[in-house]
């Protein structure tokens, strides 16, 4: 069974990536040769292709697996994430899409240098871009590792290795142009891979009359379930539960004997198995709150500290953070005009809205059919485990393979986009562009998060992605918004703002990764600093710019002409 899953998954992944790379490399005009091909797809991508590619890069492991996992654990409180993600694109559309495309710059670093006329500002923005990209790559690696561990029982580093290998292969051979086609192709593949099993699962749930996840009791096993524990885990048992234990529970070794797990805390040692009968209450891993179904289904029902504050802060971070995601912004350059760029973003909104229905659905179904993930803590694997659980036998295995392949497509496509963005930024900033610099940049881009990946603690994939959004919202968002709409921004003001905002956000993020979650107001603020830091950054940028008014760049009026007037007007845009 497991061997079959591995074979299907890997066949699917290999076939998909092989097909995509062939399409990408030879689909249009032969292999990529010039620097322009590598960087900007020679600026000839239609809104539909481009929108598919943007959506593909955007719906990463976090959207795919993390959101479903968070819905499984926290329920209605996490429904805000898809809303914030889509709303972020509305903000991007109205505030910066047209002007950014019309400015004619490639990366965000180019924008800073051109708009503020300052070389140091280019480097400051490049640093921000790298941090955001690295924080965004981390969950891709983590997700790939979890996927292979849960589906095939392989160690996590195998997943990382596959992603690194495939991403470098694609990026180094084709650059941006092949990426655009690969990405666009992968978006529709991912949507299919999510939607088909979801529809099948919904039908089965309806036909079988499956239990309602919102009933007022703790989650229960729908069918007899044997849970394997790979690592030592602390459990919270909500009500007295009986189970057959094979392994070490609370320091005592059992060999398949029936044990009464009393309500409260227990410790299960590694390599233990507990078999629960149908209807038994699900023990929860320590870091996961125990919630009754009705509480789980209610927004702000409980289970988190300061949920309203956290929700507002996450929403603000996603709303404003989208515009600083480097791999999304460089895609506007491949549109032919500001107008085409705007239409692209509108299409992205439609595609994302469609896509984001499914993680929510999987999270809710997971509460019913795969509650043991609450016990093992592998909530990120909900989407992967569900199909096999509901459809036994070969069809289930094939469904699992399909979803796992879709997930790998997500890791690979998002990672490609970020690596291209970081590599482009690094090569242009340091070595002045060129294919060789780009390739070196790509290797650097992927090495840094790989070394950090070993440290990751309990933070889920979606948590890591919101960190990247928060850093972006706290640093690049104020720079972009003020740069586009306010003449008075000075290099010193922008630089100070970046240092303060980006510094606070990165510090909070690292504290979270290394130190783990903390409780109380201070913990809530550290977990979601956007609501405090974003206004602070805007304030710093504006105040310092006003104080250094003499340093406003000289060409600012010319810049405003280029940013805001339609391309059709023949005028001096230099």
């Amino acid at each position: 069974m497991i061997v079959l899953v591995i074979v299907t998954t890997l066949t699917a992944v290999t076939g998909l990536l092989g097909a995509a790379t062939v399409v990408g490399s030879f689909g249009r005009r032969g292999p990529a040769r010039t620097t322009s091909d590598f960087l900007v797809a020679s600026r000839s991508v239609s809104p539909m292709w481009n929108a598919s590619a943007i959506s593909s890069e955007y719906v990463s492991a976090a959207a795919f697996l993390g959101t479903a996992g968070l819905v499984l654990i926290y329920g209605a409180d996490m429904l805000w994430l898809p809303i914030g993600a889509a709303a972020g694109y509305v903000v991007v559309l109205v505030l910066i899409t047209g002007p950014l495309r019309r400015s004619g710059v490639y990366t965000l670093s180019d924008f800073a240098e051109w708009r503020l006329g300052s070389r140091p500002m280019r480097h400051a923005v490049s640093v921000c871009v790298c941090f955001i990209g690295w924080f965004y790559l981390l969950p891709q690696f983590q997700g790939a590792g979890v996927t292979l561990r849960v589906v095939a029982g392989l160690p996590v580093w195998v997943g990382w290795a596959i992603v690194v290998f495939v991403v470098l292969g694609i990026v180094l051979s084709g650059g941006m142009r092949s990426i655009t086609v690969v990405q666009a192709f992968q978006f529709w593949f991912k949507l299919l891979a999510l939607a088909l099993p979801a529809v099948a699962l919904m039908v089965i749930w309806r036909v079988q009359g499956g239990p309602d996840p919102t009933r007022p009791s703790p989650p229960q096993f729908a069918q007899p379930t044997t849970v394997s524990v790979a690592f030592q885990v602390g459990l919270r048992v909500p009500v007295d539960t009986r189970g057959h234990v094979d392994g070490v529970l609370d320091g005592r070794r059992y060999h398949g004997t029936e044990v009464l797990l009393t309500a409260g805390r227990h410790v299960v040692a590694e390599d233990s198995r507990i078999a629960f009968p149908a209807g038994a209450a699900v023990p929860h891993a320590e870091q996961i709150p125990v919630q009754r179904g009705d509480v789980w289904a209610t927004p702000f029902g409980g289970g988190r500290d300061h949920p309203l504050f956290g929700t507002y802060s996450v929403l603000l971070g996603m709303l404003l953070g989208t515009m600083g995601l480097p791999h999304i912004m460089i895609r506007f350059y491949t549109n032919t005009s500001g107008r085409a760029a705007r239409r692209t973003v509108t299409l992205v909104l439609v595609m994302l809205s469609l896509f984001y229905v499914f993680p929510t659905l999987y999270g809710a179904l997971g509460r019913v059919f795969t509650p043991e993930l609450l016990m093992t803590g592998d909530a990120d694997a909900t989407i992967l485990v569900l199909p096999g659980r509901l459809v036994p036998g070969l069809p289930g295995t094939l469904l699992t393979g399909l979803v796992a392949a879709g997930a790998f497509a997500a890791f690979v496509s998002t990672s490609c986009g970020i690596v291209v963005a970081i590599a482009g930024t690094l090569s242009q900033g340091v070595s002045g562009g060129g294919v060789r610099g780009f390739r070196i940049g790509a290797v650097i881009a992927i090495t840094v998060p790989l070394t950090l990946a070993g440290w990751l603690g309990t933070l889920g994939a979606a948590g890591l992605v919101t960190l990247a959004f928060t850093i972006s919202a706290c640093s690049l968002c104020p720079l972009l918004v003020l740069g586009v709409w306010w003449r008075g921004l000075t290099p010193i003001g922008a630089g100070t703002g970046l240092a303060v905002g980006g510094g606070c956000a990165v510090a909070a993020g690292l504290t979270q990764i290394i130190g783990g979650r903390q409780s109380g107001w201070w913990g809530a603020m550290l977990a979601q600093p956007a609501i405090a830091v974003v206004p602070l950054t805007f304030l710093v940028m504006i105040v310092i710019s006003l104080l250094t008014r003499a340093r406003v760049p000289t060409g600012v009026d010319r810049a405003m002409v280029r940013l805001h007037l339609p391309e059709e007007l023949l005028m001096n845009r230099s």
Partner: protein, 123 residues
């Protein structure tokens, strides 16, 4: 065959008068005269207004929805089609709103740009 009308073909009377190579307002903008600055500012103001209206809609929805669900827990008890109301609203209801707002913005701002091009190239 219809009677041919006589047409007088003339050139510029002196070498001193020339049709400007591009319309005058764009030259005003290019040379950064007062008039050009007025045109640029008016365009930016229109664009910013459209942008802020749309941002306002987003901010209102994102700001009020959590508050409503936090303050009126009774809403969460309502079920439609077997699904709790928050799940319907948050899962399916808000996204179409974003698409509508975005489409509306694109329509408005493209119209504003067309009008601006008309004004600039005609005058």
């Amino acid at each position: 065959m219809a009677k041919q009308r006589r047409v007088v073909v003339t050139g510029p009377r002196t070498r001193g008068i020339r049709v400007p190579p591009y319309p005058t307002v764009t030259r005003d903008i290019d040379e950064q005269t007062e008039l050009g600055a007025v045109y640029l500012r008016s365009m930016m103001r229109v664009q910013l207004r459209h942008a802020l209206v749309t941002c306002g809609i987003v901010a209102a929805v994102v700001g009020l929805l959590p508050l409503v669900f936090a303050l009126v827990p009774a809403l969460s008890a309502i079920k439609a089609l077997g699904v709790p109301l928050p799940w319907l609203v948050l899962g399916l209801g808000v996204q179409p709103l974003w698409i509508g707002a975005a489409a509306q913005y694109v329509r408005r701002t493209e119209r504003a740009e067309r009008d601006f091009i008309d004004v600039v190239t005609r005058s």
